[in-house]
């Protein structure tokens, strides 16, 4: 176990290093200037322009700037946002809560509805299955940005059941504010999980050992619980894990639409502004989240299936 974690930690550090360099490079090559974010595109006199470029080291060569950033980052200082003059650590700390709440909420929806609808579809044939298939098709075809606008206008503007923007204060208010965003974020992924669960369960149902168990007259519920679901759990865990890990990045669209102060929306905004330190900081958080989720999935494999040992992928 310790060896497994150490190995994963080393991988994490390597991933972070490569990712940070790649992101910094991409941002450096991308068009635009952080100064435009300060001026809204209004023209500054050239002497003022030159002075500001010098102030933010925008004239330094790429490797120098990356090295300056990296050495500071190793010491725990992720740098400072250019337009906000604020430490990136603080900026991330202020926003990570919203994103975590949103992703957690959406994950619960995905697991709850995705897995249960998949099982229902697989077990109940006929109309029920067709219904599940239809719902998941519609849901899969609904990208988060479209879902956000539709939900906002139906449940926010016309029915007035939920607030259309902001995060709210306190537990109940927060849940109320995050319900529509979480549904919008979960829609496509729920469909994916439903489809995978349905197929996995169907496959297990057709397996010989299940047929044998059924023909031997074992109670149907025991067969489903012990022989079908347990075996189907591996592919379901895989797809749930990958889906949840990707939610943090996907949340950008939903956070923007619902004016939530999360990491995703801020990442998009910072990338547009070429706010290097912020983009780097948030990207690193995303990479860490992705790697950690995968570790959790790996541990889950080992718990679900004794044949799988830690570190080896389930087949």
């Amino acid at each position: 176990m310790l060896q497994f974690i150490a190995k994963r930690l080393a991988m994490l550090v390597a991933t972070l290093l490569v990712a940070s360099f790649a992101i910094y490079g991409a941002l450096y090559l991308a068009p635009g200037s952080p100064i435009a974010a300060l001026t809204g595109g209004r023209t500054l006199p050239p002497e003022v322009m030159a002075q500001i470029e010098a102030r933010y080291h925008l004239n330094e060569p790429f490797l120098t700037r990356y090295w300056l950033w990296l050495t500071a980052a190793i010491h725990g200082d992720l740098g400072e946002s250019i337009p906000l003059h604020e430490s990136v650590n603080t900026l991330i700390a202020q926003r990570i809560g919203t994103t975590l709440q949103l992703v957690l909420f959406a994950s619960i929806l995905i697991v709850m509805f995705g897995v249960s609808l998949g099982i229902i579809g697989a077990l109940g044939r006929g109309v029920v299955d067709t219904g599940v298939l239809f719902a998941s098709t519609v849901s899969a075809a609904l990208p988060a940005f479209a879902a956000a606008v539709i939900l906002q206008f139906i449940f926010g503007v016309y029915l007035g059941w939920f607030p259309v923007l902001g995060t709210g204060d306190g537990f109940v208010d927060t849940i109320k504010h995050l319900t529509l965003p979480a549904i919008a974020l979960a829609a496509t992924s729920t469909a994916l999980v439903t489809r995978v669960t349905r197929t996995a369960v169907r496959e297990e149902l057709d397996r010989e050992h299940v047929q044998t168990a059924v023909s031997r007259g074992l109670p149907w519920s025991d067969v489903v619980r012990r022989h079908v679901l347990r075996n189907a759990a591996i592919p379901i865990t895989t797809v749930v894990g990958i889906t949840i890990a990707s939610l943090i990045a996907l949340s950008a669209v939903v956070e923007t639409a619902f004016a939530l102060n999360g990491l995703g929306a801020y990442l998009v905004q910072a990338a547009q502004n070429k706010d290097f330190a912020v983009v780097q900081g948030i990207s690193l958080v995303l990479v860490v989240a992705f790697v950690v989720t995968n570790v959790v999935v790996d541990i889950a494999y080992a718990l679900l299936d004794p044949r799988v040992s830690l570190g080896s992928r389930a087949q």
Partner: protein, 550 residues
């Protein structure tokens, strides 16, 4: 053509505006402009919206992105200037009708190169008095080319700024400069507390550092992503401004049109100043939302950067301008909230001597379409079949639509047009990179100057060395008129000089005006009072804000 429905809506708004002006006058709000501008032929725009009758509680106001700094010397765009204008007092003040007069200070000019300022008895939010020491510190900070501010060139004729007493200070100029007074009524003239700014150092104006000013609102809290929360300043020095009828005002960034629209409809957002908002029609029709249209301040125009080729010839520019479908742009980009211009900027920029500016504007022809004349001109110029290049970014919808309208106008009179499409983040390069603006002949802009005067923008594009003079255009008469205006103490004479320059700039189409976009303010029915003019960028606009009791 303007479609009948839009026209009706516009008329509705204008009629409402008249009622509003009447109620406002009865309610004792800002007095109508004394120089008689209200009788000018085009003055049907709203200035003051209905006076609030109830406390509005916690008000949320949207800007197109979140506020990034509160330091006035870096306040150069909508969110920052919307916040700074109510937190920090300027030395002089822009009123709701965009005329300017005494503010935190008043001045006398003992000689053409001296301004003596006397500060009012005002206090900062912490209760300490605003002293000449603070004012001189703030101005020097803004004027310092290495101070990190955006306005240092505004002070180019300032020789020295000296404290002469506890409440008095003197600005000495190298040459007479009455344009400086306009700037001092705007963001560059905002006064901050010296002690606080020095203590905070480079953190001044940031989320963690904050600011210390004397304005009608004081900073309560600021968290990025959640907005700048401000509360009325209970000890505000100026009793002539109304007390804001609200508990708090939070400025939030709402980049998405759909979110903004949903927010305004449900009341999650109480108000916003909107530019080219795609959902304006939907909001105008909503009974829960009020839309007011004030005088146009912005210039929606094509920048001409051509130094050679067809567009360097004024005849060709005139021909393309005559071929333009301006009502089409007004409908598609501004959803009806705009006018066919006579010059680069409309009546929103007539700060002082409105009657003179109004007459000068009215004397210029309305830029209506005239294909016959356009074809005649382009043939005379011998430019048929020649090629021009237009810079645009398809990612910035409103500007791109304007660029495409310019393209079809040019093509309709026989020019060949190449489009140079760049990414939205690269679009800025047309304004800052000589290689970028040198590679195209024209590109669209939405532009404005620092205060209400046509020369505030005009000087950047029609004077030698102007920050937006991309084609190097100069004209001895314009230069002389602007120089005369800058050194002229008398408002009326200065306005006459600016009008003279405006006539040549418009005849020659140094830039090609496209639309005079109305200044649109949108409020949920719960909230009222925000002035419908561009004063939200420069003056204490939110002091007028409050509730309707709805």
């Amino acid at each position: 053509m303007v479609n009948p429905q839009t026209r009706r809506r516009l008329l509705g708004v204008i009629a409402l505006g008249a009622t509003v002006a009447l109620t406002a006058a009865c309610g004792g709000a800002a007095a109508p402009n004394p120089s008689g501008g209200s009788s000018a032929p085009t003055s049907n725009f709203v200035v003051d919206t209905p006076v609030p009758t109830a406390d509005a509680g916690d008000v949320v106001w949207a800007t197109y992105r979140e506020t990034q700094t509160l330091d006035p010397i870096q306040g150069f765009d909508y969110p920052e200037q919307t916040a700074d204008s109510i937190l920090c007092d300027s030395l002089l003040r822009q009123k709701n009708d965009m005329s300017y007069g005494p503010g935190l200070a008043s001045y006398t000019a003992p000689s053409p190169t001296e301004f003596d300022f006397t500060l009012n008895t005002a206090t900062f939010w912490d209760g300490t008095p605003v002293t000449a020491e603070d004012a001189v510190f703030s101005l020097k900070r803004a004027a310092d080319p290495n101070g990190g501010g955006f306005y240092s060139t505004v002070f180019s004729r300032v020789k020295s700024i000296d404290v002469t007493g506890d409440k008095t200070f003197k600005i000495t100029l190298s040459q007479p400069d009455y344009w400086l007074l306009g700037e001092l009524s705007s963001t560059p003239g905002e006064i901050v507390q010296k002690k606080y700014a020095e203590a905070k150092g480079k953190d001044f104006g940031t989320v963690s550092g904050g600011v210390m000013c004397s304005g009608p609102f004081k900073l309560d809290s600021w968290q990025t992503g959640k907005g700048v929360k401000m509360v009325p300043n209970p000890t505000y020095w100026d009793a002539t401004l109304p007390k804001p009828k609200l508990t708090s005002l939070t400025l939030i960034g709402t980049p998405d049109d759909a979110t903004l629209t949903a927010g305004l409809k449900t009341g999650a957002i109480d108000g916003t100043y909107a530019i080219a908002l795609s959902t304006l029609g939907q909001l105008s029709a909503d009974p829960n939302v009020k839309v007011y249209q004030g005088a146009p301040f912005l210039a929606a125009a094509m920048v001409i950067s051509a130094t050679k080729g067809p567009l360097a010839d004024p005849k060709v520019r005139q021909a393309v301008s005559l071929a333009l479908d301006r009502p089409g742009i007004i409908n598609t980009v501004f959803k009806g909230a705009g006018h066919i211009p006579h010059a680069l900027q409309g009546e929103g920029v007539w700060g002082t001597s409105k009657a003179i500016f109004a007459a000068g504007y009215a004397a210029l022809p309305e830029m209506t379409q005239d294909m016959a004349k356009a074809k005649d001109l382009i043939t005379q110029a011998g430019a048929v079949g020649q090629n021009i290049t237009i810079g645009t970014s398809s990612g910035i919808t409103s500007l791109n639509t304007e660029a495409l309208a310019f393209k079809s106008a040019a093509e309709s009179i026989g020019l060949k047009v190449t489009i140079q499409n760049v990414s939205p983040s690269n679009f800025i390069n047309y304004f800052i990179d000589p290689k970028a603006y040198g590679s195209v002949d024209a590109f669209p802009t939405s532009n404005y100057g620092d205060y209400a005067d046509p020369s505030a923008l005009g000087k950047t594009l029609a004077m030698k060395g102007g920050s937006q003079n991309f084609s190097g255009w100069t004209n001895p008469e314009v230069t002389a008129a602007y120089e005369a205006a800058r050194g002229e103490a008398d408002d009326a004479k200065r306005a006459a000089d600016v009008v003279a320059a405006q006539k040549i700039i418009t005849d020659q189409l140094v830039w090609v005006p496209l639309v005079a976009p109305n200044n649109v303010v949108i409020m949920n029915k719960k909230v009222t009072g925000a002035p419908a003019t561009f004063v939200y960028m420069f003056g204490p606009w939110a002091a007028y804000l409050g509730g309707t009791g709805a």
